[in-house]
Amino acid sequence: MLKKLQAIGLCMVLTILSGCWSSRELTDMAIATALGIDKEGDRIKVTVQVINPSENAGQSFTSRTAVTTFTTTGDTLFESLRRLTTLTPRKLYLSHIRIIIFGEEYAKQGIADSLDFISRDHEMRTDFHFAIARGYGAQDIVNILTPIEKIPANKIFSTLESSQDFWAPTKVVQLDELISSMTSKGKEAVLTELLILGDLNKGSNIENVQSVPSYTSIKSSGLGVFHNEKLVGWLDENESRGFNMITDNVHDTVGVVPCGNKGNLTIEAYKNSTEMKGSIRGDTPNITVNFTAEANLADISCTIDFTKQKTIKKYEEKLAEEAKNVMKDSLEKARDLEADIFGFGELLSKSNPKKWKKIEEEWANIFVNDLNVDFKADVNIRRTGTTTQPFLDNISKKKQEE
């Protein structure tokens, strides 16, 4: 028994003497939430958004801001992050990063060099999103304070998630998807754009969150298109929506078609799915995109008779046509940019691996010129909301009677 006591004592002494290599106290680390990466000459400029914990939780808040940013430059991403320790009071902790933003200039020169660090570092997880600052540097976006969400990175993160869920034009991209679409031969990457609305300089001031309308806000609407690791162009809102429709990335969206004499009919398409089929007949690759949606009527601002099956049929067709056009526009834009963002090549490589081998090298050219893409769309209106017939008709009648 004495022997065992000694053994345990020995173990205790050893563990205590050996110290705690990997431990770090919460008070010793700066929790980073957003990372902005820009180019400055040949060097990489990194802006980190760091949480100021006592301003985010607890009982007494002071007038200090909820986050702070630090900027530094270095030859590589890792070097500049480490150089940040000369600025930050504590060591950066990267596991809780919500979003990584690339500046437009930097994205145009290629983002591959920073992606390697991001995938290699053990602190980095894979559950954050990527975005590109359109027209600005990433630093500018990271610096902006946002209302409601105290931590701007969280705001951007949840904006991206909710707009993907309820509004079609954006897309959240995570690390593994980004890397695999960059390395895949038959696919190009896209990343969401972020825009700054309003006055850039006021945005980073605490006044921005102290007034009822914010002076500056961050918006996300379109997509940035990559060719390999370089940003080559932008899809606008409508084209982005087309892109998402083709790649089956629409959860819930809104469709508008003109109706009657004047006015619009708006539907909420809630069950969208797209099926892509690829085949190579002879030497011409062929892609069929079949889009189906189930929709509810959401908003009618014209006078039509919606009690008739025929009317519904008519508008279903109109909506389908509209959907096809949107998808076609998107494809045209992608062809202009010479980037197969839809993964048509990858699709062909899965369905016709042998023939794909032959056209693999030529693919960029084939995508732009020879590829034959058929769009099919099918929209079904299932329900009409809580009312059936619009009352606008009655209002106009009343007007006439008066």
Partner: protein, 535 residues
């Protein structure tokens, strides 16, 4: 060497191990037979006991025509005085005079037998031949009658000492279930068991343990259900005990357990008779010690500590849920502080961002590392708990007020500890008292500090390695030959019905496999069916 508890005839068998020199001398002197000279005998006995203040002798004469010199010896306070007066003194001094007139007691060949069989209206009368047994008898609260000219005496059972009434057990309370608890008197305790199991197969063997204290220890089991090997093993280990005195069953527990170096208890103790009876019915062996309300049960397995008797009194689904809750609390009590340390100092990526921010905000300004903070708070809590137990009742409330203020508010407001830490400590404290058996709680508390150290050095990995070591240790333990982690490691499928869950009685048809090897079927009630459904 088996003897029945109710008759105190058995001789105290000498211990196998050598007693020390002094004891040897006196005991050999006491082994001498009675002289038969009343005055000398009494004088010897009195002087042997150092003329103690509570030693009482009463000389008198039996019979009138041919009086016999007689004396009764007893210890004041151990005997029921009324009994001695009414049934011994009165019989011998008054009744004999009226009934046995004309008889010459000296002519009656065996006056002792006569007295025993005809006169003494006491239920338990035995003969004593030597000093040793005289001491034994009077010290057990019996009255010894010595007659002049006879080389033996009679021991009349007349115990009647003041004792605590049967009360509700304070260490294990129930909402539903019997509220009787054991008392300090062995006979009361055995009667409490007898009253619950009315079966001749309930065997109670008694022996005296302790060279000096001569404490009575009873081994209790149901013949035919209990495993004979285990009964024998219990007896063997009890016989091997050579100690000066036994004051509580804890002495026995420590002296007969399989593995001495372990934080886990390998013998179950309880002051609830129903708990003991349940154990006996499962085939366990109970060890009752005179002078303490805590009885022992052997063999014991780990899960036994998480099974309260109330599980069986409530409906089975409630019992099962309560049991699962207790296991959860076991892990909470064991691991909460260490998990907190591991998460906040090693694995911050595991904490959801909002929670991390909140924790970081709380820790802002706390001057100590998380490990030290946790250690400090845990030790403070242990101090408070210990103070609460040992303090006189009157100041108990003061402790709780100070404790609440120290642990709760002041420390947090002063920024010495974070409020999350207070939550962790209180959760741990509450969880640790959910376990129905208090001695398991103690082992959890000891191990908790080990886990905290491991967590501070290696994070979760340390905790996991600690758990592996703990389970390795637990599986290596045995209680009277039964693997300590029995129905789980080794896994016994049929015993799972009463392990983590308690299934309805009509499902638990068999007794636990490893404890009980013969007579496995426990009950055979058909599973209940709704009445009226006759086809």
């Amino acid at each position: 060497m088996k003897k029945k508890f109710w008759s105190f005839t058995g001789k105290y068998k000498k211990k196998t191990a050598k007693p020390n020199q002094d004891q040897l001398q006196t005991s050999s002197q006491h082994q001498q037979p009675l002289l038969g000279m009343l005055q000398d005998d009494v004088k010897y006995i009195q002087s042997s006991m150092g003329s103690s203040a509570d030693f009482e002798t009463r000389f008198f004469q039996i019979g009138t025509d041919f009086p016999v010199e007689a004396a009764i010896i007893y210890i004041d306070g151990l005997v029921d005085k009324n009994f001695v007066h009414n049934f011994i003194m009165e019989t011998l001094m008054v009744d004999i005079r009226t009934t046995d007139q004309g008889q010459n007691p000296h002519e009656v060949k065996d006056i002792l037998t006569q007295l025993k069989s005809r006169s003494l209206a006491a239920s338990d009368v035995t003969e004593v031949m030597d000093y040793k047994s005289v001491f034994e008898q009077i010290l057990s609260g019996n009255t010894v009658l010595l007659l002049n000219g006879f080389m033996k005496g009679l021991a009349i059972s007349s115990p009647g000492y003041d004792s605590r009434n049967i009360e509700e057990p304070s260490s294990q309370t129930v909402v539903r279930g019997p509220k009787e608890g054991f008392t300090e008197v062995l006979k009361t305790n055995t009667s409490l068991i007898r009253r619950r199991i009315k079966n001749p197969n309930l065997w109670i063997e008694s022996r005296k343990i302790g060279q000096t204290s001569n404490t009575e220890v009873a081994v209790c089991y149901i013949n035919g259900i209990a495993n004979d090997d285990i009964v024998q093993e219990v007896n063997r280990r009890l016989d091997n005990i050579n100690i000066d005195g036994i004051l509580e069953s804890g002495y026995i527990e420590e002296l007969i357990q399989d593995e001495t170096f372990t934080p886990f208890p390998t013998l179950y103790n309880t002051e609830r008779p129903d708990s003991i009876c349940a154990g006996l019915l499962e085939g366990r062996v109970a060890i009752l010690v005179d002078g303490t309300p805590f009885a022992l049960l052997a063999p014991t397995v780990f899960i036994h500590y998480f099974q309260a008797t109330e599980d069986y009194y409530q409906r089975s689904d409630i019992g099962s849920l309560m049991r699962l809750l207790r296991f959860l609390c076991f892990f909470l009590a064991l691991l909460t502080p260490s998990a907190y340390i591991a998460l906040t100092t090693f694995h911050q990526e595991m904490i959801p961002t909002p929670l991390l921010i909140s924790l970081a905000a709380q820790r802002e300004g706390v001057p100590f590392p998380a490990f030290f903070e946790a250690l400090m708070m845990e030790i403070t809590f242990e101090i408070l708990r210990e103070a609460g137990t040992r303090m006189p009742r009157a100041v108990g409330s003061a402790i709780s007020i100070v404790g609440a203020l120290v642990l709760g508010q002041a420390a947090v407001e002063a920024g010495i500890v974070s409020s999350a830490m207070v939550i962790v400590v209180s959760l741990t404290a509450i969880s640790s008292f959910v376990t129905p058996a208090f001695n398991m709680t103690i082992s959890i508390r000891i191990l908790r500090f080990g886990f905290m150290t491991l967590a501070a050095v290696f994070g979760l990995i340390g905790i996991i390695l600690g758990l592996i070591i703990m389970i390795l240790h637990l599986t290596s333990l045995r209680s009277f030959g039964v693997p300590y982690l029995a129905p789980m490691g080794p896994f016994i499928t049929s015993d799972q019905k009463d392990t983590l869950l308690r299934l309805p009685f009509w499902k638990m048809r068999e007794r636990q496999k490893l404890i009980n090897k013969k007579n496995v079927v426990r009950e055979n009630t058909p599973s209940p069916k709704p009445p009226g459904n006759k086809n």
